[in-house]
Symmetry: C2
Subunit: 143 residues, 2 copies
């Protein structure tokens, strides 16, 4: 199984995001190949990937997204890139799991009101990991 | 012509965003019907639209987006909703103009590296308005 993990890179990173991304990617590796595993490399956070052009990054990520069986998106932070990836994943009929840390701020209705994705709100990392485990056990049960 | 103006609502609003959205929507009204004109109502900023369910907002906005001839997106702020709308607009072959205030922060490569949209960076509101005028004059010239 190929998994595309979407997370905020150029956008805002709230406290705890780095740990969450690492923990979620490690968990996902139990269920398949995480195409975007390198996203959790701290040196990419905030500055993006300096070796590729923007078009190069976009096209590579879209190729990965379109080849993936499942998209798992961390949506605790406002992010144009993550929103874009979810929008394209919806149009391409991908399975989508969104994970969001419980917080005061309101989540965009484009995510919370989209019936084509599953959204789980986690209190802490253990919670988030549990949601991933549940999701993949359910979604693999038919195989 | 139907125009869908996409802007950050639940996400971050940086200083000057409100004025920019109002000015850009006023400019767009010269070229067609702005389906999302009410987005620039300050009472919606930050709290979202309390009278509709999230699914109601999502489905109404998607109906508008899919019926629009052109999407104009203000991408100065990180926003899951705006990113999502751009992703779905790309997949549906819509014309897309993105406007961004020049700033230090890096724009997501999903936007800056996407060849399916036009991106213009403005210094000030007059600049932004000029970009809108240029875009619509060019895009209407064939009609």
């Amino acid at each position: 199984m190929k998994i595309y993990y979407a997370m905020s890179i150029s956008g805002n990173q709230s406290e705890g995001s780095e740990e969450a991304n690492k923990a979620f990617i490690e968990t996902l590796k139990k269920y398949g190949e995480v195409l975007t595993e390198h996203f959790s490399n701290p040196s990419l956070i905030g500055i993006g990937e300096s070796k590729l052009t923007n078009k190069g990054i976009h096209d590579r990520d879209m190729e990965w997204l379109l080849s993936a069986d499942v998209i798992v998106a961390e949506v605790s932070n406002a992010s144009l890139g993550v929103g874009y990836e979810i929008g394209r994943a919806v149009e391409n009929g991908k399975k989508i799991l969104c994970l969001r840390r419980k917080q005061k701020g309101r989540l965009s209705a484009m995510i919370s009101g989209c019936e084509r994705l599953e959204l789980r709100e986690y209190e802490n990392l253990d919670d988030g990991i549990l949601f991933i485990d549940e999701y993949f056990k359910l979604n693999n049960s038919g195989k």
